[in-house]
Homo-oligomer: 134 residues x 6
């Protein structure tokens, strides 16, 4: 597929951000998906990180906690992305308690199953953290 | 219906919070729903405001922005609650830009229709604000 | 479109049931949709009423209350069908209170916006009932 | 976290009900979640069981079948709660057939994937029952 | 349960189609579900395959790609059905690339988690294909 | 906000495509949203049209019908986008019948309420078409 010359700004800033919060993610996406969907990894880095996560106007921590809230409420299929965003939120200074509170708050909107599933995802992330820190 | 003596703590703090951020809401819920579902307004104030919104461990502004994020991503049926929570977020210090950013970020998770609908709800709230301030 | 000879059992029992609980519905569906999607009204009566609502093994009232629960939790796009099923539940003996309770219970699973929207739909149905009974 | 004095009514009746239908659940929630989200287990017992499941105005069996319907239609993330509610419905007198019918009815609203997944969850619960009864 | 005489048209054409695209599916459904929900396998073949998949007015390949799109966007609970429909789409001539493109397009509507999950389901189907062809 | 130099390829091709299928959309988005969320209209054109709709590997008509399928199944909040995509599908050669069939097929996955709502949206689009053609 002829991939048009991509953004000389959003892709680069997306790549910088994704490497900072999820090192190796673009390479992993490329290895897994680009043969089937040409340019998929680049589009995801450009779009998700370059054109959304890297935006100004909202501090990084609140942006990530808001994302955790949404992924909790949407539930079900979002576990892997939930774990990625919980880990990113920790990287930019969110406390475990703040993440737990955001998830619990979702009981009012996403229902209890969503809360329990997301809380379990958070606990996995926190345990992996603890294991790494030992 | 025999409504059990309710919480001498969560109901009261829920009522204090709901009156501060949405004055008159409990009375409106009671007038509309309690005849059909006895105690509905009290349960909603106790549960939503007393047992969730009033929790410690996360600042009020982030809690409300996280709620706006989830209601945006869930979309569709959530417009009235979205407007209530956007207005509450404004009351506790969120800027219009921060709210707009939280909603736009949801494009990655709730899809574009959710973003457009929530952005329209936010603009309605901001216009009502402007009208009040004149 | 060549519509295959349809079920000599499920369509007829579906038609009998839909005429009993929603008189005129098949004709209304046919008038609105069959030119675009040949056979749509017949398929909906055969499938929805003949192959699901008319099944044995669960009393009609519980089947309709369970449907009201699901439509409440799914929320948003389901208002017209919610009103139809609430009216049908009333026709087979569900009390307004039972319907209100089923909807309120959904706060735990569909979230508060879903509950408020469904409760408003129920109140509309009950008011239409009251108007008819005057 | 300073947890306000909790309800001298809803928490106690919630606890009585949850111990009757899901013995040990509160302790399990407390052990897993309360360190991260102080008071989470108590809030869930108070809110879910004390303020919703224990309400009057709808018989327990219908309330649980309605919950099974909603969890089926919502699908995906709800499997554990679906199994808990199917088991509770059995405890209060719902037949396996009635539960199967409620789930199958959801084909019209939650789609076939939701039905298949919920039916599989029900079969697991029924097999566990059979194993216990041997 | 007295199952009414079923459609002498839709059931038969549904059976013919399901045996062509998913040989053995009806028997598997019958073995697993019919004891609990009498007639479930027949209803699913009649309804899903006879009354929807076998309709005229849209070519089979587009119908299946549209189904893959919807199952991707709905996400979460739909993985098994997604794999069945991806395999069916391959059987009627859809390329792996076309299926990948349909799934990726859903990023705009179902969100990134839905895309990643569906892409993984597709890759499983394509690997099973490759294994069979060896 | 400092908006990075945007893609010299995806934005331009996105703009070309959006002007062809939805003339004036970018200007309308800019007028309504860019003051609140700087660059929102440009990002939407770049991302939605430039990085997804304009991709190769799937014919335009199938891509739009797949999008109609997903928006139907997601239901509720998607009506405006559904109408835009139905109109676009018509522009690239989809027949009204094909669109009707794609929507009806969703009964199996998105449920009947989703089908009825989307069918009504399609009929509105077709009526607007007829009005224009007079």
């Amino acid at each position: 597929m002829n991939i048009p010359v991509t953004d000389t700004g959003t892709y680069e800033r997306g790549q910088a951000l994704s490497e900072r919060v999820n090192p190796g993610m673009e390479a992993a996406l490329a290895a897994r998906y680009d043969a089937l969907v040409p340019g998929m990894s680049r589009t995801m880095v450009d779009v998700a990180y370059g054109q959304f996560y890297a935006r100004e106007g909202l501090d990084e921590k609140t942006r990530l906690l808001a994302t955790v809230a949404a992924l909790t409420a949407l539930g079900g299929q979002t576990r892997p992305q939930l774990k990625v965003n919980i880990a990113s939120a920790r990287k930019v200074g969110a406390s475990q308690r703040e993440i737990g509170e955001v998830i619990f708050q979702m009981a009012l909107y996403g229902g209890l199953p969503a809360v329990i599933n997301a809380m379990n995802a958070a606990i996995e992330v926190f345990n992996e953290e603890a294991a790494r820190d030992e």
